[in-house]
């Protein structure tokens, strides 16, 4: 039972446990942060597998991504604190069955296939980074470029979908007419709607 085996087992169990907590807890923010720590445990698992660059990258990226997921939970979910203890699941037995079947199938494949003699020595971390860099910018340059363009397209698409259509969101200074009594009433009613829809955008220049 070497140290490496112990760390792989420990971080693996931590990742699985946090993954289960994601779906068992009622609080939405706890769910998002449990997913974050599950990914961090996986990053630590990569580090204990001596894959240093990917481990550090996983730890760094997943913290940011899952925190963004946390704020989206707070924006969209009915009960982000979880104090109401609502059960938000459906088709429980089907999904539990599917999960267990896929787990057993994957473990069966892992155990019963002869993977051949494992190589126990990996290149050291600096050499791995150099090799990965050469691979990225040499043989896999096309893949790298395509991934870059895809990221740019996704950013533009997500921004375009998320911007409120119709409201002048590009400029934050909008000329408002001087309010009289009736325009003030209808203005306040209109403000309510836009407030609900936009979640407080640039119109609120107090």
């Amino acid at each position: 039972m070497t140290a490496q085996m112990f760390f792989i087992g420990f971080f693996g169990i931590a990742a699985i446990w946090f993954g289960i907590v994601v779906f068992r807890t009622f609080s939405m923010v706890r769910s998002a942060l449990a997913l974050l720590f599950s990914q961090t445990a996986l990053g630590a698992l990569f580090l204990s597998l001596q894959v240093e660059f990917l481990g550090v990258l996983q730890i760094m990226m997943m913290a940011t991504e899952m925190s963004i997921m946390a704020i989206f939970m707070v924006m969209f979910m009915m009960d982000p604190g979880g104090l109401g203890e609502m059960d938000m699941t459906h088709q429980k037995r089907l999904s539990l069955g599917a999960g267990i079947v896929s787990f057993i199938a994957a473990v069966a494949v892992a155990v019963f296939v002869d993977w051949g003699p494992g190589v126990s020595v990996a290149p050291d971390a600096a050499q791995q980074t150099v090799d990965l860099g050469r691979e990225l910018l040499g043989r896999s340059m096309l893949i790298f470029e395509t991934a870059g363009i895809t990221i740019l397209t996704a950013m533009i698409a997500a921004t375009a979908v998320a911007i409120q259509p119709g409201v002048n969101s590009i400029s934050s200074h909008r000329q408002r007419p001087v309010p009289t009594n009736e325009t003030l009433d209808s203005d306040m009613r209109r403000n309510d709607d836009t407030h609900k829809k936009m979640g407080g955008q640039a119109n609120h220049e107090h």
């Binding site: 779906f23 990258l57 051949g116 494992g118």
Partner: protein, 103 residues
């Protein structure tokens, strides 16, 4: 067949199972995306384990893991854009199945 490889593969399998359970049982778009993230992470663990114990001299394995990380980020970005648009349109991101539960 090294025991560490088996440990890592079993971890990947368990995470994949939890991800499938989550993606199928949750009604909210954000929670479904969490299940998908877990499945992708499980695939990454398997890839890293295979690279480390079977082909450590070929950096293409690490390249594949980088691409999966990229895909995770992109899918989250576009998914949340769609979630914002849907929320603005009908006021919730519940998938249709759970609509009757609210009445």
């Amino acid at each position: 067949m090294s025991i560490e490889l088996l440990l890592a593969l079993i971890t990947g399998a368990a995470l994949f199972g939890v991800g499938i359970y989550g993606a199928l049982s949750q009604t909210n778009l954000v929670m479904i995306m969490m299940g998908v993230e877990l499945m992708l992470a499980a695939a990454m663990v398997n890839l890293v384990a295979f690279w480390r114990y079977l082909h450590p001299d070929n950096p293409a394995g690490q390249m594949f893991v980088l691409i999966i990380m990229t895909v995770m980020a992109i899918e989250m970005a576009v998914g949340f854009g769609i979630a914002i648009a849907r929320f603005r349109a009908i006021g919730s991101v519940e998938m249709e199945e759970a609509a009757e539960l609210k009445e």
